[in-house]
Each structure stands twice: as C-alpha cells, then as structure tokens.
C-alpha cells in the first residue's frame, strides 16, 4: 500500500519464555481506524503496546522483528521519541490526579520541560479539547482537577492529552471497556472525527464495536494474526474458519 504509515515485519513478542505475539505482519494505512479484535489473552494488547515500545517496560519482556513507522524502525529510535509520535490511550481513564484539566492536556509539553508562552498553550489546550469533543463541557472549569470529571469525560481528557502532542498514530487499548454505553457511543463518534487527522489503532474485544468504528479489522487468535481485511469483508465474508467461528460467537 502506498499510504502505509505503520508496518510490522515478522514481529514477535515475549514475556520471558512465553511467546505471546507470533510472527505478525500487518500494514496500517494512514487516516484509517484499524480495529484489533480477538478473545482475551490472544496478544492484541501486547501487540499494541509493542508499537509504542511500552511492552519492553515490563520485566522480562522482549521483542523480535521490525516495527516500521514511515519506514523507520521504531526499535532503532529512542523510545521517548517514538512515544511522541505514537500516542496512547489506556483501558481505564488515567488523567494525572495532581493536575488540572488544563495542565493535563499540556502535560506532554509541560512535564517535558518545554517552555511555551501562555497564548500558545491556550491554543493547544483549546484545540485538543475540541478535537476530543470535550471543550464545551469543560471550558468553564479548565483549572479544576481532571479527576472530578465523569469516566467518559476523563477518557476524552486522556485522548485530548494524547493528541495534544500531535502524534501520527494513536493507539487505543479498549478505550471504552470501563465506560457506560452513552460515554462509549460518544467516544466511538469521536474516533470517526479523529481519523481525519490521525491514524487510529483500537484494541477491542467487542465485535460490534469493531464493526461500527473501523475501516479495517485484524483478528488475533493465540498470538497469531489470523485475518486482516476491510471490516466489511471481514464481517460478511471471513476467509478463515477461526474468524468465522469467532464472529458467529462459537467461541469467545
């Protein structure tokens, strides 16, 4: 594909002896939402955490193979640089409890010690919150602590914090699994907006969600990438028996 932004080549990940991601080859096109689905323990979250090199922070974890961001191997860049380019949103909303909403959004700049004048900061905060569809709800309470927000708002705050750094790729690790249905649908709508500017990779164990939000879907099973195709094709005409079984709910 000519507009590929991220590509893994024979990628393996391990926890000690445990081989959790096996020879994964995948190409992620730019400005797409790619859903990664599969049953629990199939390595999808681990694979996601390999993309921005969060996996290696766990003791005994290791990787093999190439992970190319714009044809540059992220495993040859400095991890801090990688994480500036590839943002991440976690399963549970985790805004910094010691910072205000405003400071949470610019945390990536502020805590990195980058000096900026107030006007620039205001612009980044407003734009990021607007992109995360949170601005209207919090614009009058920017200097309150982020932890006073509801779960769904906190998750959008985390999204704002990640996109404030202007990453090229945004990784979302089951971003709605800790949220109620209303917050979930507002985040799903948000993902559609975000793909105009960013490339999104969403891990989900919820098939309906994968079908609703994604352009392409990858199905992981027991650490292997079984099938990767346009979401429409995947859900209407799965090529692999195991994908078909999973989609029709014959195992979970």
């Amino acid at each position: 594909m000519e507009n590929t932004i991220l590509k893994s080549v024979d990628f393996d990940a391990y926890f000690g002896e445990n081989h959790v991601v096996k020879k994964v080859n995948i190409e992620i096109p730019k400005n797409n939402v790619v859903a990664v689905m599969g049953p629990s323990g199939c390595g999808k979250t681990t694979f996601l955490r390999c993309i921005n090199r969060m996996h290696e922070l766990i003791e005994g974890a290791s990787t093999k193979g190439k992970m190319l961001l714009n044809n540059e191997d992220v495993y040859e860049m400095h991890p801090i640089f990688v994480r500036h380019k590839i943002g991440m949103v976690f399963q549970r909303p985790n805004p910094f409890p010691n910072l205000s909403i405003y400071d949470n959004v610019i945390a990536g700049y502020k805590l990195n010690g980058m000096k900026m004048n107030k006007a620039d900061k205001d612009v980044i905060v407003e734009q990021s919150l607007q992109k995360a569809a949170l601005w209207n709800e919090v614009k009058d309470s920017l200097h309150k602590k982020g932890t006073f927000l509801s779960g769904g708002q906190q998750q959008r705050l985390c999204i704002a914090r990640a996109i404030a750094m202007e990453p090229e790729v945004l990784l979302l690790d089951e971003p709605t699994s800790a949220l109620d249905p209303i917050s979930t649908s507002s985040i799903e709508v948000l993902l559609q907006e975000l793909k105009k500017n960013y490339t999104l990779i969403v891990v989900t164990h919820n098939m309906q969600q994968a079908a609703r939000v994604s352009d392409k879907t990858a199905f992981f099973y027991l650490g292997e990438l079984i099938e990767y195709d346009d979401t429409k094709n995947m859900f209407t005409n799965p090529q692999d028996k195991r994908t078909q079984n999973y989609i029709t709910g014959r195992f979970s």
Binding site: N52, M54, L57, E59, I80, F81, V82, R83, H84, G87, M88, F90, R92, N94, P95, F96, P97, N98, A107, G108, L111, N112, G113, K145, T147, F148, C158, R161, A162, M165
Partner: protein
C-alpha cells in the same frame, strides 16, 4: 427466642464490650502522661521560660532557650541529611520490588530501624566525635539522621507502592523521560503520604536522648555553632531531672511539656496534610 441463639448473642455482646474496653485502655497511658506533665509543667511555662537561659543552681527562674534552639537546629540538620536519602531510597524500593539490591536495602533498613538508639550514638561517637576530638551538634544530627532514615525510606516506599501503575504508564506513554515521570507525577501524587512520613519521623527523633548523650553532649550556654556541643530538649530533661536541685527539676518539667507539645503538634500537622493534600483518583 431459642436459648442457643440467646447464648450466641450474649457472646457477641461480650466480645464487643471487651473490644471497646481494651481500645479505651490504649488511650489511658497517653492521657495519664499528658495529665501528669501538664500538671507539673504548665505553671513553669511562660514567655520568660522560652527566651531565657537556665539560671545557675540556687537562683529561681531561668528558661530553656538554648535547648529549644539547639533541638530545632539538631533536628533540622538531621532532617536535611535523612530526607533526600530516605525519599530517594524509598523511590528505589517502590520501583524495584524484586531486585537483589532492593532486597538488601530493605533488610538493611529494617535492621537499622530495630537498632537501639544508644548503639547509634556510640557508633557516631567513634566515627565523628573521636576523630574531630570534640562533641558537636553536627554529630548529634548525624546520629538522629540515622534514626530517621528507615522511617522515611519505608513510609515513602509504602506510599508510592500504593499508587496505581497506570499513572506511571500514562506519563511514559506521553514520552516523558523516567526521571520526570518519577519527580513530576509519581512523587507529587504520593506527596501527602511522603510528607506525613517525614513529619512523623521528625516527631520521633525530636525526643531521642540516647544518641545525643555522647554526640551533641549538651551545653549550659547558648550556642548555634553546629561544630560545638549544643543543648537539646531531651538532653536538658535528662541532665536536669537527674540533678539534685529543685529549680532544675522545674526546668526539666517545663521542657518535657514543650517537647510533648512539639510532638503533638507535629502529629496534628500530619493529620491535616494527609487530609488537605490527599489526591483523589
């Protein structure tokens, strides 16, 4: 009601009563001490008592200004030495739960916590007082810093261990270098716990006498030179209470009350900081 149920309810009530009785009993020693020291000490305390030096034997009045300032200085320098080392040690232990160095540090800290304070005093005597051939406030501070260190290390470690791992991950995923994640996110989030551990440690060493006996030594005069012997509250109490003079006993009672109030105040401050700076997740 069936008799066996009555019997069980009776047993339950009896147990409750015992629990309440025994927990009340826990507060008795403190109140007795407070009452006794208040009764003996309160009449001696006035402004004059706080700002004047002790009078020679035979003269009534006099104060404990030298001991008060001495105690503040000695404890201040002890805290200055123990806090950075202790907090950093605590951070290391909370970050490295299983490494060999962490286990060794944990063991060393625990043993240090159990070391009798008089032993610490003697060791410092041979390490610092003898080579410099003078008693000094600084050697007292070192002894107290050693007493304080394990408390700070352990309280920092326990506080930071309780913080969710997601907090650190959030910082790392933003591309923050490790030291900034620790200093700007983890430490501020655990601030109330760390600071209350420090205050409790200060309260604890403020009353230590044994390590000061052959280090700071005591000084009947006013001194702020930390390289010379210095008076402190516990030393003053020890020396004056064991003296045969009534005037000196009076000073010791007053000093004891001041020391007790100091510890009480620090404990109250701890309670307030924990509540004020508690971080909500």
């Amino acid at each position: 009601m069936k008799p066996h149920i009555k019997y069980r309810l009776g047993k339950s009530k009896f147990f409750k009563a015992i629990v309440i009785l025994l927990s009340t009993l826990c507060t008795v020693p403190l109140f007795l001490i407070l009452f006794y020291i208040l009764r003996e000490g309160i009449t001696r305390i006035n402004w004059h008592f706080l700002v004047n030096l002790p009078k020679p034997v035979g003269e009534a009045g006099g104060g404990i200004a030298n001991a008060l300032v001495g105690s503040l200085l000695i404890v201040f320098f002890a805290a200055l030495m123990a806090i950075p080392v202790g907090v950093m040690g605590g951070i290391y232990l909370s970050e490295n739960k299983k490494s060999r160095l962490a286990n060794l540090t944990r063991l060393a800290v625990d043993v240090l916590q159990g070391t009798p304070s008089i032993v610490v005093g003697i060791v410092i005597y041979f390490w610092i007082v003898k080579p410099l051939s003078t008693f000094s406030a600084l050697s007292g501070s070192v002894a107290l810093a050693i007493m304080m260190l394990p408390i700070v290390v352990r309280s920092t470690e326990e506080t930071l261990k309780l913080l969710p791992a997601s907090l650190k991950e959030a910082g790392l995923a933003l591309g923050l270098p490790y030291q900034r994640v620790i200093l700007r996110i983890v430490l501020p989030c655990g601030f109330s716990g760390v600071i209350s551990g420090i205050i409790l440690a200060v309260a604890r060493i403020a009353g230590e006498t044994a390590p000061l006996l052959f280090t700071a030594f005591g000084n009947p005069f006013f001194s702020t030179n930390i390289f010379k012997p210095m008076q402190s509250l516990p030393l003053l109490i020890f020396n004056y209470a064991t003296s045969p003079y009534d005037e000196w006993h009076d000073l010791a009672w007053g000093a004891a009350l001041i020391l007790l109030l100091w510890v009480l105040l620090l404990n109250i401050i701890t309670k307030i900081t924990t509540r004020r700076w508690k971080i909500q997740f």
